[in-house]
């Protein structure tokens, strides 16, 4: 009887330990628009990356990718990392990551087209693979998509469980003439994200990123 009780007690104690760990990690995917109309803003990507790195902890994942003519490819990922369990190793990874992003920003060539949808597809794929509890896609772009001939991007996107944040959405020259174009552009993307089950936000003031992550 006593032995049975002891076994039951041991099992009760061991069960929570054997249960699959609850996902608590965060995944961040930063898309940087490198098209000609936005290339001057690319330097701000470093600020956002560094901010994200200060917020992320061990076991969190981050990737920084560029948006160019065809963005649905791993080749466009500039840097990616999943931080180690040990805080000291995670710190070293953060430093290395920051260095890689800085290097890219210094040498980023302008792209002729802007394939935002392809970048988003790649981001969804990456974050879903990482199985993080909280998924956030940051888009540093003017949100004006320009596709090269032959690229099909009229695809429904599945944003369930995703937070999509458009950062520093600059106004184009044409937007100044007709602000409805700018507002319409943002509305289209908001609609697309929310239709896909995601949550859409716009942050234009990069000095106040407190709400991010």
């Amino acid at each position: 009887m006593t032995r049975t009780l002891l076994l039951l007690l041991a099992a009760a104690l061991a069960l929570p330990a054997c249960a699959p760990p609850q996902a608590r990690s965060t995944g961040v995917y930063l898309l940087i628009d490198t098209s000609g109309s936005y290339n001057r803003q690319v330097t701000k990507a470093e600020q956002i990356t560094l901010y994200a790195l200060t917020r992320l902890q061990s076991a969190d994942s981050i990737a920084v990718a560029r948006i160019d003519t065809g963005s649905f490819t791993e080749k466009d990922i500039i840097a990616k990392a999943t931080f180690d369990d040990r805080p000291s190793t995670a710190n070293a990874q953060k430093r290395a990551f920051a260095s890689r992003v800085e290097k890219f920003i210094d040498q980023s060539p302008p792209a002729p087209y802007t394939d935002i949808t392809g970048g988003l597809l790649q981001a969804i794929e990456f974050l879903n693979e990482k199985r993080t509890a909280h998924k956030e896609i940051l888009i540093l772009s003017d949100m004006k998509e320009e596709l090269a001939k032959g690229y099909v991007r009229d695809i429904p996107l599945d944003f369930k469980g995703f937070d999509v944040v458009a950062l520093n959405v600059t106004k184009l020259r044409s937007d100044n003439f007709d602000p409805r174009q700018y507002l319409g552009r943002l509305d289209v993307w908001r609609e697309r994200v929310e239709k896909g089950g995601g949550h859409w936000r716009v942050i234009n003031d990069l000095d106040h990123l407190e709400g991010l992550l």
């Binding site: 330990a17 609850q22 902890q57 061990s58 369990d85 805080p87 000291s88 710190n91 430093r95």
Partner: protein
């Protein structure tokens, strides 16, 4: 059936209402005796039930009080036994220490006394020689030899002066020797005084201890007899011990929290910072386990040293095994303390690394500068990491007091709760009885008309035979 439909069985609602009222009053009047009995039975049953419950609670409270009394007396007896045992041990130590030195002291005293005796004998004053010349001088002076006696006297005078000088020299010499002997006796006197002083101190100590033992024994006897005064003293002491030990345990808990903070962060380096067991981080649990193991080792150490008596098994172990246990638990504690000191150092290193990384990520170069006095905080953290496990060892003492006094305090609280419950039940019982009486009165209230008529009729019936009795139905009501 609504009220309005009830009032429509005659064309005039007022008449209908009056008829209904009369019918109702009549029905109530006819059912009055039965209704009163029902109300009284119900109220009586409820009252009796509540009173029985109150009696039961009082009985439970008495049993709890008796048990609490036994617990208190047993605890007091055990405590007094320990105190008396300790006092006896002290007396035994004192006696053993003094008796061990007694033969040596006795020999020294005897030798000193012997020396003093010898010196005293030697120092006895020699009586001066009796003057022999005085008689001779008198005889010569009486001789009728004309001037012949003068020369003889002159010679005698010279001889006398010489003899006097020699006698004085001898006397001075003898006195000097006596003084020297007396001087030599002084250290022996001092030795005797010191020895006797030491004996006096020891005897005083033993007497003091015996008085303390007497006092404790009186208290012990009072506890054994189960006197109320002894019980009252034990009870109040127990409550005081409870609060004091609770306070010390709260301080120890704060110390544990500080200890936890010191080692939780570096533990993440060892077991990973993202693993969870249930809702808790594995690193936090590991840090807590280390602290708990330290506290357990501290408990075992205190038990092995027989400072606390929480585990009778450890107290009952042989001295040899106990000593081994003391050594082993102390070594484990030392190891744990060293590990904690290392972890505290690691914490500082990790903190610096994190600060440097964050400064780099923020682009803040000034934060990366190393403070030259940083070694002080590092050393302080390491010192705390090393000392806290040993400080937590002493938690065993308040813990033992807390556990022992908790039984009494919980018992006292239980008694108070049961007393309050019994009081409430008795009040409710009485309340139920009075409510029954009140319900009867309220029942009679709409029947005032028929009751008045009944009283009048009774009075009229009795008017011819006897004066109206006071115990009428109205009075009853």
């Amino acid at each position: 059936m609504s009220m309005s439909s009830l009032l429509t069985f005659t064309p005039w609602p007022a008449v209908s209402a009056a008829i209904l009222l009369i019918l109702l009053v009549t029905a109530l009047y006819l059912a009055r005796t039965t209704a009163h009995q029902a109300i009284q039975v119900a109220a009586g049953a409820l009252s009796r039930g509540l009173r029985i419950a109150a009696h039961s609670v009082i009985h439970a409270q008495e049993r709890l009080a008796a048990r609490n009394r036994q617990v208190l007396l047993a605890a007091g007896r055990e405590s007094k036994e320990r105190v008396v045992e300790r006092e006896f041990t002290r007396v035994a130590d004192t006696v053993r220490k003094d008796l061990a030195g007694y033969p040596d002291m006795h020999r020294r005293l005897s030798e000193s006394i012997l020396r003093i005796e010898e010196d005293q004998e030697k120092a006895a004053e020699a009586p001066p020689e009796a003057p022999g010349w005085a008689q001779a001088v008198k005889v010569v002076a009486n001789l009728d030899a004309r001037n012949a006696g003068a020369e003889i006297l002159s010679d005698i005078h010279k001889s006398m002066v010489k003899a006097h000088e020699e006698a004085m020299d001898d006397y001075r010499k003898a006195s000097s020797e006596r003084h020297a002997l007396l001087r030599r006796m002084a250290p022996d006197w001092r030795l005797i005084q010191q020895a006797l002083g030491h004996v006096h101190k020891s005897v005083e100590s033993v007497i003091g201890r015996s008085q303390t033992i007497d006092r404790h024994m009186e208290e012990y006897e009072a506890i054994v007899r189960g006197e109320d005064r002894a019980l009252s003293v034990l009870s109040s002491s127990s409550i005081v011990y409870f609060f004091i030990s609770a306070l010390v345990l709260a301080v120890a808990t704060a110390g544990t929290a500080v200890n936890f903070t010191l080692i939780a962060r570096p533990m993440a380096e060892m077991v990973g910072g993202t693993n969870f067991i249930g809702a808790f981080r594995t690193a936090d649990i590991a840090a807590l386990v280390i602290i708990m193991v330290e506290i357990s080792m501290g408990l075992f150490l205190m038990e092995s040293l027989r400072i606390t008596r929480l585990f009778p098994v450890i107290s009952a172990l042989s001295d040899k095994i106990r000593v081994r246990m003391v050594i082993i638990t102390f070594l484990i504690l030392l190891l744990m303390a060293s590990i904690e000191a290392g972890l505290a150092y690691m914490r500082e290193v990790l903190l610096l690394d994190e600060m440097a990384t964050n400064a780099l990520l923020r682009g803040d170069n000034s934060a990366a500068l190393v403070n030259s006095h940083l070694w002080i905080t590092t050393a302080a953290q390491m010192g705390m990491g090393f000392v806290l496990p040993f400080a937590l060892v002493f938690v065993a003492i308040p813990l033992e007091t807390f556990v022992h006094s908790l039984r009494t305090v919980v018992g006292l609280i239980g008694i108070a709760v049961l007393q309050a419950l019994a009081l409430i039940l008795r009040l409710l019982g009485n309340g139920a009885r009075h409510l029954g009486a009140l319900a009867c009165r309220l029942y009679d209230l709409p029947l005032f008309g028929p009751l008045w008529v009944e009283i009048r009729m009774r009075e009229r019936t009795r008017n011819g035979a006897a004066p109206p009795a006071e115990t009428t139905a109205w009075k009853e009501a």
